[in-house]
Symmetry: C2
Subunit: 442 residues, 2 copies
């Protein structure tokens, strides 16, 4: 049978998986440092739940048993295309057993049947966090999210992140203050600013949305504001007044103030963001790697009024972001800007000098592993040169030559050639050599 | 829309996911301590690859785009039902870039469309290791596997494991030495020993396979042998001679000798195992938790001659085992024999005494997190009693009362009530409290 890759379903070499795993571990570690609780959902949802939640159903993969019994009453199932739909269902299903505010993280693969193209995948990892309240959710959770995005990305060998924070209430309040009633088409038009430029946006606002030229210009003036806390005052100087605008500015200010503990420039207020406002109702986030903006937002999300309709009067307001792990990793691999220090977890290769002494080599390995040092015994009593070559190919940094049966021997750093006496119950590798590390290149 | 579980697709509460994640982490850590390299494959394979590999195709879930274009030349795809089929394909696909012997581990979900029943899942985690050679693979890798199974299971709060080791060459050589030519039906019959008992096996061997009563008894005599290294001699005392039998006994002996470093009774030679011999060609393994044998084998596998047909003359002999993570966890959850020490990663809850001092509480949290201590700030300036109640519900062990803006304050262990002065740049929780632990109950 011919073997070929399936377009859109990426697979990595073991050394790339080491990088991916390290990324996933650091994401998880930081999510947990902020007190988020882990959730995994099944990969399938009833098809009607997937198609009911505002997605274009073109993207969905359906799943069924190859030989389903004709009389089988199985629900129609599909693979989840994000982690929000299953999480909403999970929260309703388990609401009686969850502690609210419910801070949860979820790191899983999702599937979308889109036509694959550069940087688009059909199977990819997402790492989501959300905080869900019952009936209400304090704004402090909105303020925490940029801190978390910064913590996650600075734990990795990546360029510094810049988190753009926008706010639906600021835009909507401002437009209403200008006397614009039909907000949605204006938001959609302003959202095209980066793509079609300010003149074209103004033209559409005037010709299609019926704004006069002056109001169109004032919409654009808001969208161009970008910066630190001073942006709040800059909005006020535009001279538009509306209660919703003031509410939004107050909320944006709280999020920006909490960001003051981060390095300057990490978080910027950006009133050009008009994305996702069919879903998000307050704060919105878009995060980019500085200098790698071309790979797109690595993280985005926002505040929403209700995660899911519980069928009673209960509301579940929430705020969250999604980090596109595979969408981040793919370009980093292609650009070769990130690499592991070796191709295997193994830190020490114990040589085998003759078949009879296998027990001795094995005992050294067991002693090292018992102290958390990843160790392999070479599999055949070949010439040392051949054994060292195997270590070299995989980037295993240390080769151990057993001496007595008591765990003594000599250990060679094959990078420097330095060889020293050592005991398997006491020798420690430099801490950066114990497990493979992930490093930025250049 | 009505919400109900989908039979066979288990989901856990966050505190159960903490347990599952800890289990997966320990499995991975031990696989890596033995030098296995990580691989993940896409979840879909071409359908013809899935149905070509000896599985009953009834079990397969097929996957297709909901609105696939009629002229789309997409391959028919299915979800993988194990990790062996995708790994075989992956190894062939990447053989030019892999270093052999290729020690790989793979921890992923798999899907089988079986009718769900007690202890059977349609979606479940498997954790596989395999070592693949080019053309040949030394026996030392067979000998390493029981050490690895012991290392993985003893890192967890589980009863001790017992690894049963059988050997196809011993059984086949013994039968051939008895003059039996058609081996397969005899192996299949002996495999039913535990289910139907020795009399019924003897009866089938005589009536259906045409053995005389004496040879049937000698087959049974082999199958009853179980124990340590002495089993090798016990086989020889049965007085059957065959070159393949001797070869098998030599191999079994090498595996059993390597197990001598483990606690007595951890590894037993068991010539009653006749399972999987349509696939396995040498050593076979079945591992059980002592006292929990009723949940079935938690780990099984063996040696095979060729992982995959490369289309040229290349052979890829291998040896490996698969650990059924979900099949293990499900019964442990149902029996409530395993539980986490708390319901959240959070170690410290920082209280908020008034809205104005949020920055102070937040600064304490940042200092603690920077030193790797999972910390949350309570979200509202409610009465301390309410804030402590939240910590109590989640099992968060420590509550922090901020003092000055310099990180000073007091920390209370809410289990003992003991409260002491502390500084957020210096205070350390007891190491077992830093992250949630997983403990056996009773």
């Amino acid at each position: 049978m011919k073997i070929r890759p399936i377009s859109g379903f990426p697979e990595w070499l073991p050394e790339q998986r080491i990088v991916e795993q390290k990324l996933l571990d650091e994401i998880r570690r930081n999510f947990e440092l902020f007190g988020f609780r882990p959730v995994q959902t099944r990969v399938v949802e009833p098809l009607d739940r997937l198609t009911n939640n505002g997605s274009t159903d073109k993207e969905i993969y359906i799943v069924r048993r190859l030989h389903a019994d004709p009389d089988e009453a199985d629900d129609k199932l599909g693979l989840h295309f994000d982690l929000t739909v299953p999480f909403a269902r999970y929260t309703l299903e388990n609401r009686g057993q969850l502690v609210f505010p419910f801070k949860r993280y979820q790191i899983q693969k999702v599937w979308r049947g889109e036509r694959p193209q550069e940087g688009r995948y059909r199977e990819f990892y997402q790492a989501d966090i959300d905080v869900i309240g019952q009936d209400r959710l304090p704004l402090c959770f909105d303020a925490e999210i940029p801190l978390l995005i910064h913590a996650v990305t600075s734990a990795l060998p990546l360029p510094p992140v810049r988190v753009h924070v926008g706010h639906r209430k600021v835009l909507e309040g401002y437009y209403r203050g200008l006397g614009i009633d039909d907000i949605t088409p204006v938001l959609r038009t302003v959202d095209k600013l980066a793509k079609i430029g300010p003149e074209a946006v103004a033209q559409v606002l005037v010709e299609e949305q019926g704004l006069d030229a002056q109001r169109a210009q004032r919409c654009l003036a808001l969208s161009e504001l970008r910066g630190g806390l001073e942006v709040i005052d800059a909005v006020r100087k535009l001279g538009v007044e509306h209660a919703l605008l003031e509410e939004g500015l107050g909320e944006l200010q709280e999020v920006m103030r909490a960001a003051a503990e981060l390095p300057a420039g990490t978080v910027v207020a950006d009133l050009g963001i008009a994305r996702g406002f069919d879903y998000y109702t307050g704060t919105v986030y878009e995060a980019f790697l500085q200098g790698l903006e071309s790979i797109g937002a690595v993280c985005s999300g926002g505040r929403y009024d209700n995660l899911a309709d519980a069928g009673d009067n209960a509301k579940f307001p929430g705020v969250g972001v999604s980090l596109g792990v595979t969408r981040l990793l793919g370009p980093l691999f292609r650009r070769e800007v990130i690499a592991p220090t070796r191709l295997t977890p193994t830190c020490v290769l114990v040589v085998l000098d003759k078949e009879d002494s296998r027990a001795r080599s094995q005992a050294v390995a067991s002693r090292l592993r018992a102290r958390g040092i990843p160790t392999e015994v070479f599999h055949a009593a070949q010439k040392y040169g051949k054994q060292i070559k195997y270590a070299d190919k995989l980037g295993i940094p240390f080769v151990w030559f057993p001496g007595g049966d008591d765990g003594t021997g000599e250990v060679r750093d094959i990078r420097s050639g330095e060889q020293t006496p050592a005991h398997a119950d006491a020798w420690e590798p430099p801490s950066e050599d114990r497990w493979p590390q992930v490093r930025g290149r250049g």
